[in-house]
Symmetry: C2
Subunit: 430 residues, 2 copies
């Protein structure tokens, strides 16, 4: 087991469990061509061949309830999105240096879901590219470099953003321009703001001026921090008082997951300077974006043109538009609120689980020892037992003791029942 | 006109030409939502609605011969690729942390097109992400930072890679770890190697050890440098003697464009340490990759796991596989060689054009004044006149006086004839 294996939650550890020969052969071939930096999930990796709504199917025909994948947010292989992708791919797939109605229509539609102050949007391929671009713009606007992130944050994989993603582990050097603060898991906004202020001071001592507070607005990889809504406001005030910007990373909570409108920052009553989004935006089609207040990009745009060959291409925009259609037509924000509330209540009523932190269909559940300490081993065991019982989730948090539950937004109450039934069985077995 | 407008070739300059009211209204709406960093092509931007093979169609039903777009390398909306995307999107779209046959099959197939020493491949969404990842790996392996690029290179748009892309203009600061060398436009390998050696020395003086020579192997944005094949070898030897790696950026020349196998580095008889690829890989579907010699990623992979949510997802791999199918079945490498040769010969036989540098369907044509100086104005005028006559190309090079011609690989001799006919008319009008 390498250091990187240890730092990744729910990673498959080669050799730890004996696997069927055919699976082991595929894993060996995969290791040979993809190399040592790739990881699989679970002690017994899942070999998937098909997906439909909240279900995934493996090569043996077994079915899994997907309570983990937040990319396929409107459900695996949603016919409306698939149809939009297929139709547009057959018509035209080109980039943003030609005029097109669709990208302008979509940009207007997306910005209409946000506060008026967020007036521009720029398209990328991935959340990593979106965060990278947001920071390029923020650095230009503030003429400063310092970035504050939470201590188990994940924001992406470019050189710049990997250095601002402590959850990647000690093998990826934290950027010298980064300062980390504990995530406000208990919703203590005053303390979080004090931590941010301390980080700003620490930057100053090092001669680094503050550029931005960059946070996943629901702190997914820190272990989920949702309530009380509003707790983020003092920290945002602190970074702004110091001349820095607030970048809301909505890659995970965005597009309705929290059940309170499309954007988690709105739950907190905030208007970010920049908003990044990605994963669920095209339900799997690679598309991501940065929305921003026009003032922050005025100078950047005048001197540093931006082009991204695939970012916001014709098909990406068709997929993204179809996702908004489905969210509206199927009432998925409302569904996330309703089902998420029932899900959280059921989890809270289950013996053997620790505190539940949740908004909509983003749920974090701590596993604690009898003495109240983080029980990382049991969390990992439970994730794998659930997988063996046909339920997919993963773990989160600095200690890895938080169950991370974030199903497609089409998850229904019947799926919650099935989940809770299997969870009870898994918990009974230890 | 902003500095960024001036640094971009063939950029639409708002207000320079009067446009139809409907087009102007769309441009205004676009500017309002996409903001100031976006640019359009041409004095009269193209409003596209449909593409088919080598043809693009605008909103008025006019047809354009596409001799510019190298992303849709097997032709706009190729039915085999569109079919593969549609079928896979309807079946499963998920990531590389689940086991799947297709990504392993594709990786094996892709690596089989390269020298045996290139044993691993990692998937990203864009060429920018591929170059960013290649440099993260190269920096880890060499424990060094210095990167040598050519003076009008373009490698991508992340913070790291934008700083290594001088073609973005003075508004984007060059990275302190970068050194630029003139592109070897005349194929003088000895001189290019001497320039690289001088850059290495310059890095050393600044206390920066050399990490990599990063080059587009056909120097697309420097103005196209193709012959004599082999001229790159001395420069590669120079970087390796200094402990640095050779990163072949095949984002533009790769996948058969040069008509001499799939990879331009192979024309030069070289085996790179890392190879990046992107644009044509999925014929418009966002997919890109880094291939590498296993030794360079061993340490990186052990400590720094890599995951890219969309990179190499199920649909990306289906698209990429379909592209390889089409290249093979339609003999597109051979077609690029045959048609490219005829195209270059026709251009060389045309009065009023300067030197032609070309390999396959990547062609650069200098426009010179009577005194032999770069004629940037005439190049820009010609690009726009051709657009008005239904032919799409752009310009390239540090001085912007090189016509950049790189049509889909399905371009036929009849399209060359049409191109030459329209070019003659455009040249006659000045």
């Amino acid at each position: 087991m390498t250091p990187a294996d240890r730092s990744m939650l729910n990673a498959f550890i080669p050799g730890a469990v004996e696997l069927p020969a055919a699976e082991q052969a595929l894993i060996d071939r995969r290791r040979a061509v993809l190399g040592p930096a790739y990881r699989l999930f679970y002690q017994r990796p899942l070999h998937l061949v098909r997906g439909e709504d909240v279900w995934l199917y493996d090569a043996d025909g077994s079915r899994y309830l997907d309570a983990y994948n937040n990319v396929v947010s409107v459900g695996h292989c949603h016919p409306h999105v698939v149809g939009a992708i297929a139709a547009q791919a057959a018509t035209l797939c080109t980039h943003t240096r030609y005029l097109a109605d669709a990208v302008v229509d979509y940009a207007e539609r997306l910005l209409a879901t946000m506060p008026d102050a967020l007036g521009h949007v720029m398209f990328t391929c991935s959340g990593s590219e979106a965060n990278d671009l947001a920071l390029r713009i923020a650095s230009d606007f503030t003429d400063a470099d310092g970035v504050i992130v939470t201590e188990n944050a994940y924001h992406g994989t470019t050189q710049l953003i990997a250095g601002l993603s402590p959850s990647l582990g000690a093998g990826v050097a934290l950027s010298p321009r980064a300062r980390v603060v504990p995530a406000p898991l208990h919703g203590d906004g005053t303390r979080f703001a004090a931590d941010v202020a301390r980080a700003i001071e620490d930057l100053r001592v090092a001669g680094i001026r503050p550029c931005a507070l960059l946070i996943d607005t629901i702190f997914t990889s820190d272990g989920v921090a949702a309530d009380p809504a509003g707790f983020l406001a003092p920290a945002v005030k602190a970074i702004r008082s110091a001349g820095g910007l607030f970048i809301a990373d909505e890659v995970q909570p965005g597009f309705g997951r929290t059940g309170a409108g499309l954007w988690c920052f709105a739950r907190h009553g905030l208007v970010p300077d920049l908003v990044t989004m990605g994963k669920p935006m095209g339900n799997g089609y690679p598309v991501a974006a940065v929305a921003m207040q026009p003032r922050v990009v005025a100078s950047f745009g005048a001197k540093a043109r931006y082009f991204n060959t695939f970012g916001g291409n014709s098909v990406a925009i068709a997929a993204a538009g179809a996702v908004l259609d489905v969210i509206e037509r199927q009432g998925l924000v409302q569904n996330a609120a309703r089902v998420g509330q029932a899900f959280a209540a059921a989890l809270r009523g289950t013996a053997g689980l620790g505190p539940v932190r949740a908004a909509g269909l983003m749920l974090g559940v701590d596993l604690l020892t009898d003495a109240g300490a983080p029980d990382t081993e049991r969390a990992n065991r439970l994730v794998n037992r659930l997988r063996d019982r046909g339920i997919l989730i993963s773990a989160s948090g600095k200690a890895g003791h938080t169950l991370k539950i974030r199903p497609p937004l089409s998850f229904g109450l019947e799926h919650v029942d099935l989940f809770m039934d299997r969870l009870a069985t898994a918990l009974r077995s230890g």
